[in-house]
């Protein structure tokens, strides 16, 4: 078993209303960032776990997302695994 650190990104599903992203977008526009073409707000989670391989760590992290960390109705997630130093 090795120690892994998994960074998890949970974002509102594309196409669903993201009022927080819209509010941030308007605020950035009003600060003069005229080049802005969109803004989205999600969550960043970090979990540390033990697993036999990197793939196994990713699989367990995805299972965590499906069962708790992301809402399957409204959110998508991405996991990125790195060896814990």
């Amino acid at each position: 078993m090795s120690a892994y650190r998994v960074e998890i990104r949970v974002m509102p599903r594309a196409g669903l209303l993201d009022p927080q992203g819209q509010a941030v977008e308007h605020a950035l526009h009003s600060l003069g960032f005229g080049e802005l073409r969109g803004a989205h707000v999600g969550k960043h989670l970090v979990v540390e776990l033990e697993a036999p391989t990197r793939d196994a760590a990713a699989a367990r992290a995805r299972e965590m997302c499906e069962r708790l960390l992301a809402n399957p109705v409204t959110e998508d997630f991405l996991v990125a695994v790195e060896a814990a130093g």
């Binding site: 669903l16 009022p19 809402n71 109705v73 409204t74």
Partner: protein, 238 residues
């Protein structure tokens, strides 16, 4: 008397009002702490409003793992009546007892004000004493009340007549189809965003919420009468 278990989570804050409203309707209402596994022969389980587990991660996401919620899920699967109010509605969605999700209000603000809702369905244990199409004024108090579901789920809910209450005039939180309350296919599990327990007496500004609790008391009184008949109670002269 209908036995009503009000489940209390860390962070629930409408449990006392809910107990009082159920008792005012004649129910035998008591609280069940979230760590308890036993609803003590409840006819009805209510998940009250509040901020269970501080709304950590997502509103309702953590509460569904409580031992009491396992008991509520079993009660629901056995056809028992379950009502989720506000945070309770969020918990029912997270637990998969109702479809869809309640997301951040479209206007981003926490809303605490009266809204008008139309009663769409009276064939649930919590709305039987209303008239179809009746308009109620009830308070909402939530930051995450925008009902969301995919198109297929929405079509299914509409086709099966499972929208129980709908916002009228203005849709305060941007809910899809102006949904304020829905039920499951068995119609025994109902989730509502407005707070009927805060409007159950004229001294509170109105009593339009009282019939939610009176309905469940009447519903179970009828069921018990049916039970007595089915058991041959008439022959025994009951």
């Amino acid at each position: 008397m209908t036995r009503v278990a009000v489940v209390v989570f860390p962070g629930s804050n409408c449990d006392a009002d809910t107990l009082a409203a159920a008792r005012a309707a004649g129910c035998d209402a008591y609280s069940v702490w979230h760590r308890e596994r036993d609803l003590r022969h409840a006819d009805v389980a209510i998940l009250p409003g509040g901020f269970s587990y501080g709304d950590y991660l997502r509103a309702g996401a953590i509460a569904r793992f409580s031992p009491a919620m396992q008991a509520v899920a079993e009660h629901a699967r056995a056809g028992g009546a379950v009502l989720g109010i506000c945070n309770g509605f969020q918990i029912l969605c997270e637990a998969g007892l109702l479809p869809g999700a309640l997301t951040r209000n479209a206007g981003l603000r926490f809303l605490s004000r009266p809204v008008r809702v139309r009663v769409e369905r009276i064939d649930t244990p919590f709305t039987a004493l209303y008239a179809p199409g009746e308009v109620l004024e009830l308070p909402v108090a939530h930051g995450d009340g925008r009902y969301t579901a995919d198109d297929r789920t929405l079509a299914e809910i509409e086709a099966e007549g499972r929208v129980v209450w709908r916002y009228l005039d203005d849709n305060p939180n941007g809910s899809l189809r102006a949904i304020a309350a829905i039920c499951n296919p068995g119609r025994n599990v109902v989730g509502i965003m407005p707070h009927p327990e805060r409007r159950n007496a004229t001294v509170l500004g109105g009593d339009e919420g009282a019939r939610v609790f009176l309905s469940m008391e009447a519903h179970h009184a009828t069921q018990r009468l049916d039970g007595v008949r089915a058991a041959g109670g008439g022959q025994r002269g009951v």
